[in-house]
């Protein structure tokens, strides 16, 4: 049978990471190869075209398009300030005057004869691109992108909301299996913090943390109600990152009541008090992206090997489907022939031993390397 990679979320204390930071259009790169950058450092910038505002002159004057065109007092390419006259109409022997003013300062992009509309473009706006990953600039690609390299700690989650943010890691006083409540959120010192700990935070806990200035929150699991309350709507497709939320949230295990894994805690605890980046953006298909927490690492470099990415006896897996959802187990055997499972379907299976000692047969599609 052809080879298939078993899904795995990366959780590593020290791994060589390369991140390409790209401007949406050509701009200016502000760093040179070899430069050491911090996560919140601006490494590139570009000037984006201002927004175009459509002014419906004909409608505002209550005339046809040709009449509006005749009333225009500006032409394409001219600069206007907010309040400047765009069009003027005199009627009843000049006794009545109707005018249309520019709603903004900008440049006249077009005047359309067939509609009697004017398009006014606001001045260019600056887009600043931060490094996000603190490290060394490995490459600069013309006026578009910077590649940053670092030995970094990385914790990938399974789902998140909110975009890139930079903050300082701070653990919550909560056990890995404990639900994070409002009482677990400290009253002080959360400005710019990336919090982590526990599971299934209540909506009140998330809101309290966000109001106190926390910029990120990493936890094991999330309840559907809490997610809906925090984002403000139901998420129907796992494509996130653009939500207008005050604090990015990263979930490491899934939905429901699941404990934060020992492995994640082992990797994140040493980051206490250190600057880190968090990104809740998730895209499960067509260019898969998982949410993450990143920080510069100081430990021993661990490069993932091919064997560590494939299912084999002895490795630890996370079971990702009922009735064993969220449990950890050790692989014992990989039967080569598809077998019939309880649903009646045939699937390639793996025999694992749960932490309780029970041996079970599960579809290979229902395990993740842990």
């Amino acid at each position: 049978m052809g080879q298939a990679l078993t899904p795995q979320l990366t959780v590593s204390a020290c791994q060589l990471l390369r991140r390409r930071r790209e401007l949406p259009i050509g701009g200016e790169i502000l760093v040179a190869p070899g430069a050491v950058v911090t996560p919140d450092q601006i490494v590139a910038r570009a000037f984006l075209d201002g927004e175009l505002h459509l002014v419906r002159v004909a409608e505002q004057l209550g005339v046809t398009a040709p009449e509006a065109l005749a009333a225009m007092r500006i032409a394409g390419g001219s600069s206007v300030k907010s309040g400047d006259l765009l069009a003027e109409l005199r009627s009843v022997w000049g006794l009545f005057r109707s005018t249309v003013q520019s709603p903004l300062t900008g440049t006249v992009d077009f005047v359309t004869a067939s509609t009697g509309h004017v398009g006014i473009r606001a001045p260019k706006r600056e887009l600043q691109l931060r490094a996000y990953l603190g490290g060394v600039v490995a490459e600069v690609e013309s006026d578009r992108a910077v590649v940053i390299e670092a030995h970094a700690t990385i914790v990938q989650g399974i789902f998140g909301v909110g975009g890139e943010r930079i903050g300082v890691v701070r653990g919550l006083p909560v056990a890995p299996h404990e639900q994070v409540s409002e009482a677990h959120i400290p009253e002080q010192g959360l400005q710019g913090a990336i919090l982590y700990g526990g599971c299934s935070p209540t909506l009140a806990a998330l809101q309290k943390a966000a109001c106190a200035g926390a910029v990120g929150f990493m936890t094991a699991s999330l309840d559907d109600d809490t997610l809906r309350g925090y984002v403000g709507y139901d998420i129907g497709v796992a494509v996130t990152g653009d939500e207008v939320v005050p604090m990015s949230v990263v979930v490491t295990e899934g939905f429901g009541r699941l404990a934060l894994s020992d492995r994640v805690l082992e990797v994140v605890r040493p980051l206490e008090g250190k600057q880190a980046a968090i990104n809740g953006a998730t895209q499960v298909r067509a260019g898969a992206q998982r949410p993450e927490l990143l920080a510069v690492a100081t430990g021993t470099l661990v490069q993932p090997s091919e064997t560590s990415m494939s299912l084999q006896p002895g490795c630890t897996v996370r079971l990702i489907r009922v009735p064993y959802f969220g449990e950890y187990a050790q692989v014992e055997e990989l039967p080569p022939v598809p077998q019939q499972i309880a649903t009646g379907a045939y699937a390639r299976v793996v025999q694992v031993r749960l932490r309780s000692g029970e041996r079970v047969l599960v579809p290979r599609a229902n395990v993740e390397l842990a």
Binding site: L54, D109, G119, A238, R285, R321, T343, G344, N366
Partner: protein, 604 residues
């Protein structure tokens, strides 16, 4: 490059989906063309591999291993050439693709039910997913349309509006909205967004002037030259060309994949649509085909219009699917609608969490019967919602027959629904949840429930999801595609017999009798779903005789109706539930009974 079908003996075809790449080997045997072997591997367009040909080669390797036929070599292209009487090599490689989320389009028109709708049909017919539709009369303010357009990242924009000789003002307005929103292309952010203008030709110059600065503009003939006529072909061609040159060229590894085949890669839905159309045309049937995938649900149909001409329609319910967008089905249908199909109780939170976990781990599969039934319940809702979407867009257009004074001044066209389940001959189910259901009866019941079928309908599934492969094969060898479609692709499950009556009617006793080849085999009981097993397979004439004059089985109230069907593993599914399907407070007990009647409940 012209391909001589007569010279072909062995054809290898892939479909590169978002999740998996499936390779099928088609061979000319003494028995005719057959699908002989199949290989599958994860699609590798994403990091860390980011080269679609890697996954394709894995799939080919599996075909090679299973068939014992040497197909691959180390040089480019990687195929051993076939030769007469040789047990090695292939004669032709073909492919379809929906990887990277498929072709995503924004359509814009002037009137939602006229030009914007025609644009949507053009896009869907070309195999695209319409991620947003904008029209001058959609009721939104300028800033709302602009905001919405900014959120989407289309591959291509199709702009239409205004019949020939008509006003140019409104379509120019829509162009102004587009330039104000300045949508960014999904791929190749340094390049201009491809925009196809297929509206009133008198506005083309002004549209070009407005859009020229930010778009790569193509101008094609109007999709709606008159109120009562559509001309979708040129726009579809332009979409296909841009699909290849713009979308495919930016997908990692597709350049190499393209070089392996003398035939252009087809979008998967376009290929499925082609084979459905051809089959309907060859058999003279009305067909409803659904492909329910992980992220989208495609519905294809061929129904006659009022002039009796078969009309093909395709819709994509983007964001209705069984994994990536399963939570969207939950959001649109609601927990109550999903739970009503289950033969057991489940609380809302548990249901929601299971589906959200499936969304974020889309390649996992149900491991328990209960979990399987939950997914199959979601499938029913996805089918129901997708059909509703399909019905709304699958309309015929004709000039108003009775032209009064108002019609003359209004120049209106009449729209009417094409989908008529009573006239439906065959439904074909495709996609993992249907094709790979552990029991064929489960697949039959999902389609019966999801579509709320009526009358007498043949039920079939695509055995291993080979319709895309056959669609692209049909472009070079229609005869081979048809042979394989009928012999290896379609699995006939049986037929559904559904007498239609109003739930308010007090009908006692059975609703109808069912006869097969002149022998009475069973009755349809009110409120019950049962299966009549005749012990036969193959072609048979099913005749249904209503036992009440208000019951319609397809030939009008009280009138008997018959159809020739192909019987299969599921026999004749007799559905005595009224239409529309109403499952009330006792639905768990009702569903338990249905499942037990059909042998679907597990032995505890």
């Amino acid at each position: 490059m012209k391909i001589d079908p007569a010279q072909l003996r062995t054809v290898l075809v892939t479909d590169c989906g978002s999740t998996t790449t499936k390779a099928l080997l088609f061979e000319r045997t003494p028995d005719g063309w057959r699908q002989t072997h199949r290989g599958e591997a994860p699609t590798t367009v994403e990091e860390p591999v980011a080269d679609v040909t890697v996954g394709a080669l894995h799939a080919f390797t599996e075909v090679q291993e299973l068939s014992g036929r040497r197909i691959l070599r180390d040089t480019e292209p990687p195929f051993v050439p076939g030769a007469a009487e040789s047990a090695e090599g292939i004669d032709l490689y073909l492919s379809t693709s929906s990887a990277g989320g498929g072709l995503q389009m924004l359509v814009a028109g002037v009137v939602g039910t006229i030009t914007a709708e025609s644009a949507e049909r053009a896009a869907l017919g070309a195999g695209a997913i319409v991620i947003e539709s904008v029209s001058a009369d959609d009721g939104r303010e300028d800033h709302e349309r602009i905001e919405r357009i900014r959120h989407v990242k289309p591959d291509i924009v199709l702009l239409t509006g205004g019949v020939e000789g008509g006003s140019t003002q409104h379509v120019v307005e829509v162009a102004e909205i587009l330039v104000a929103a300045a949508p960014r292309p999904r791929f190749g952010s340094t390049l201009k967004l491809p925009v196809i203008y297929a509206g009133n030709s008198a506005a083309a110059a002004e549209v070009e002037r407005i859009l020229g600065s930010f778009a790569q503009l193509s101008i094609v003939p109007n999709v709606r030259p008159t109120m009562d006529r559509e001309d979708l072909g040129p726009a579809r061609e332009a979409i296909h060309e841009l699909f290849l040159s713009h979308v495919m060229s930016h997908s990692p590894g597709y350049g190499k994949l393209l070089s392996w085949s003398p035939v252009e890669i087809m979008p998967t839905p376009a290929a499925v649509g082609d084979i459905v159309q051809q089959y309907a045309q060859q058999t003279g049937s009305s067909v409803l085909c659904v492909d329910i995938g992980g992220a989208t649900t495609d519905v294809f149909s061929v129904f006659p219009d009022r002039q009796g001409e078969p009309r093909f329609n395709r819709t994509v319910s983007a964001n209705l699917g069984m994994s990536y967008s399963i939570a969207n089905v939950l959001r649109e249908a609601g927990t109550a609608a999903i739970k009503r199909w289950l033969p057991f109780e489940i609380d809302d939170n548990t249901l929601r969490e299971r589906l959200l976990n499936k969304m974020i781990r889309p390649t996992s599969i149900p491991q328990t019967v209960e979990d399987l039934f939950v997914e199959q319940a979601v499938c029913r809702e996805a089918l129901r919602l997708a059909l509703a979407h399909h019905r709304a867009l699958s309309v015929g257009v004709e000039q108003a027959r009775e032209r009064g004074i108002a019609d003359i001044f209004r120049q209106s066209a009449q729209r009417y629904e094409l989908v008529d389940l009573m006239r439906l001959d065959m439904v074909i189910g495709s996609g993992g949840v249907l094709s790979h259901a552990p029991s064929r009866m489960q697949a039959a019941l999902m389609m019966l429930d999801g579509f709320a079928l009526e009358g007498i309908t043949q039920l079939s599934v695509d055995s291993i999801f080979m319709m895309p492969h056959l669609g692209v094969l049909a472009s070079v060898h229609p005869q081979a595609a048809r042979e394989i479609f009928e012999r290896d692709c379609l699995v006939h499950l049986g037929c559904a017999v559904v007498p239609v009556f109003s739930p308010r009617q007090r009908l006692t006793g059975p609703l109808a009798q069912v006869w097969v080849d002149g022998e009475m085999v069973g009755e349809v009981q009110r409120g019950e779903v049962t299966s009549v097993c005749t012990g036969r397979t193959g072609s048979a004439t099913v005749r249904v005789v209503p036992l009440h004059r208000t019951v319609d089985v397809g030939a009008g109230r009280g009138a008997p109706h018959e159809r020739t069907v192909v019987l299969g593993a599921c026999g004749i599914l007799c559905d005595g539930r009224s239409r529309p399907l109403e499952l009330g407070a006792t639905s768990v007990q009702q569903q338990e009974r249905v499942y037990r009647n059909l042998g679907l409940l597990p032995v505890r």
